[in-house]
Amino acid sequence: MGNLAQHINPNLFNSDVETAPNRNGYGDGLKEAGEADVRVVALSADLTSSTKTNVFAEAFPQRFVQVGIAEQSMASVAAGMASMGKIPFFASYAAFSPGRNWEQIRTTIAYNGTNVKIIGAHAGVSVGPDGATHQALEDIATMRIIPRMVVIAPCDYHEAKKATLAMAKYVGPAYMRLAREASPTITTPATPFAIGKADVFLKRNVEHGKKVGIISTGIVTYQALVAGKVLNEKGIGASVMHMATIKPLDKEAVLRFAEEHDVLVTVEEHQRAGGLGSAVAEYLSLVRPTRILRLGIDDVFGQSGTPEQLFKEYGIDSQSIINETQKFIG
């Protein structure tokens, strides 16, 4: 099955693995960040509970701003607050923010050099029955392309909480995408987290001849880990590296991972164009041209369904990752 890293939940592959939405990690992390630093403020555009901003709002009502359904203004209000020394976090669904307010984020936050944190919740197809309008599949690309912007997609509750605390300390604009659904808890409170650091969660069985490196981000890292385990059981040496930070890319880790494996497979709950797979390919094309299978949504919109049905439909569930990887290595 390969070797799970020591700092990973040992219960991960059991059927009774604990689950939690990673947006809850944002809610709890934001409250903790607010306790640690009075400069932290939170903004919401009428989605306070579902983005878990309510945890902060209840603890610090005087530092919470309700802007109404106005994502464009929210981005710029946050920029204004940051220019007065605050550390604003603003949250909505990723389909609306950064979906609707890209230019405000580019100009009034990033170009303006303000210390603003952007939270895109309910990202990816896993928002499920709400359908394509609410399934942000472009946000990694549209945020990654903005100069100075940090882009983070945590894999679970604990990592989202740590990422929130890290964002509060980091000075500069940063975007974090979150999911709606409860997902398996992959890491533990002790798992180290740092912005810009990738982490190998599963090491391949070195006795196998074929070597596949799987790189994933967000909650589908769980799908990648299950696939990695099965691939090792099938005699393919598969490792899984989780890239919580898509930008800045952990180039050192990517290069080492490419050197240690014959081919790479990237997995993300996002358009294949412009996301994690693109970031990895862009970098390796220069320093170490590598065959890379990029799994993700292939230039189509999503649709209603359960997260399981949609992961399968778009080829990012564990079984699809296993099948596609086997085909890829021939």
Binding site: V41, Q62, R63, V65, V67, G68, A70, Q72, S73, M74, A75, S76, V77, A78, A79, G80, M81, A82, S83, M84, G85, K86, P88, E103, Q104, T107, T108, Y111, N112, G113
Partner: protein
Amino acid sequence: MLHFDALGQGILAYMHYLSDKEVHELEIQANEIRQSIIEMLVEAGSGHTAGPLGMADIFTLLYFEVLKHNPKDPFWKERDRVVLSNGHICPVLYATMAHAGYFPIEELLTLRKFGTRLQGHPHTEALPGIETSSGPLGSGLSQAVGMALAERIDNPYSSKYFYCLTGDGELDCGQVWEAFMHGGKEKLHNLIVIIDRNGIQIDGYTKDVMPLEPLREKLESFNWDVQEVDGHNIRAMNDAIGKAQAVYGQPSAIIAHTIASKGIDVFERDFRWHGNPPGLGPENYVKKSEQAEVALQKLRTLNGHLQAHDVE
């Protein structure tokens, strides 16, 4: 008006009625700023003429009378904040700041050139004293709302004022109305928006491109205190800002009726001067090759009213 003591500490003196002499001095200052605007636009070979000339009186009043600021210490924490939402009129901001002492007047001639601190649209990181980067229209008021909210968290009895300057054309943007609604909801009494109501935008007159009236009633219905003022009457503008500062429990909007390209009669009111510098403007009155010279001559002679024997 802010005065500085020997240690360079700012001392706020409250708004006051301007004497005839003070008004006259501000008018002369505004005229000099207009001449700088023409000179920098001509040197740059591109940029906007109508809006900067139209807002010269208001910028002069702000930077030479109203604002609590210190040109020698642009990051002074207690300063009032000026958010220029319609960034394309930055020639008037740059020229006023230079005349107020933020940087040397000669630097105005670097406008829009490679390596300049005077970017084609203002950039906060390029030039101390620029509070926000702007150009894409409609985002300034939201930022000013955010600044006032942040200030209120820290100091509910703050004496800072947050001035947002917007065009009228940019009121077409939906984000502006999100911010007006928000400012009204939050009762941000120290937020003052000054709308340059010159009636023109790139494609034509605002009433044709997208009618805004009844503008006053729209803003009042968003819970703003609204005044309409002649934007070239420095005393009236000063009084209006004084009243806006006194309003409590509401943010204030001042609809400043201005004349596009004010000060150069042969350019005035014509929307075609929105985005062209002298030398590239419409030729109905003046040939392109003579526009720069005529513009400066018009300003220096107050459109021909000032004769040689009037000055020593």
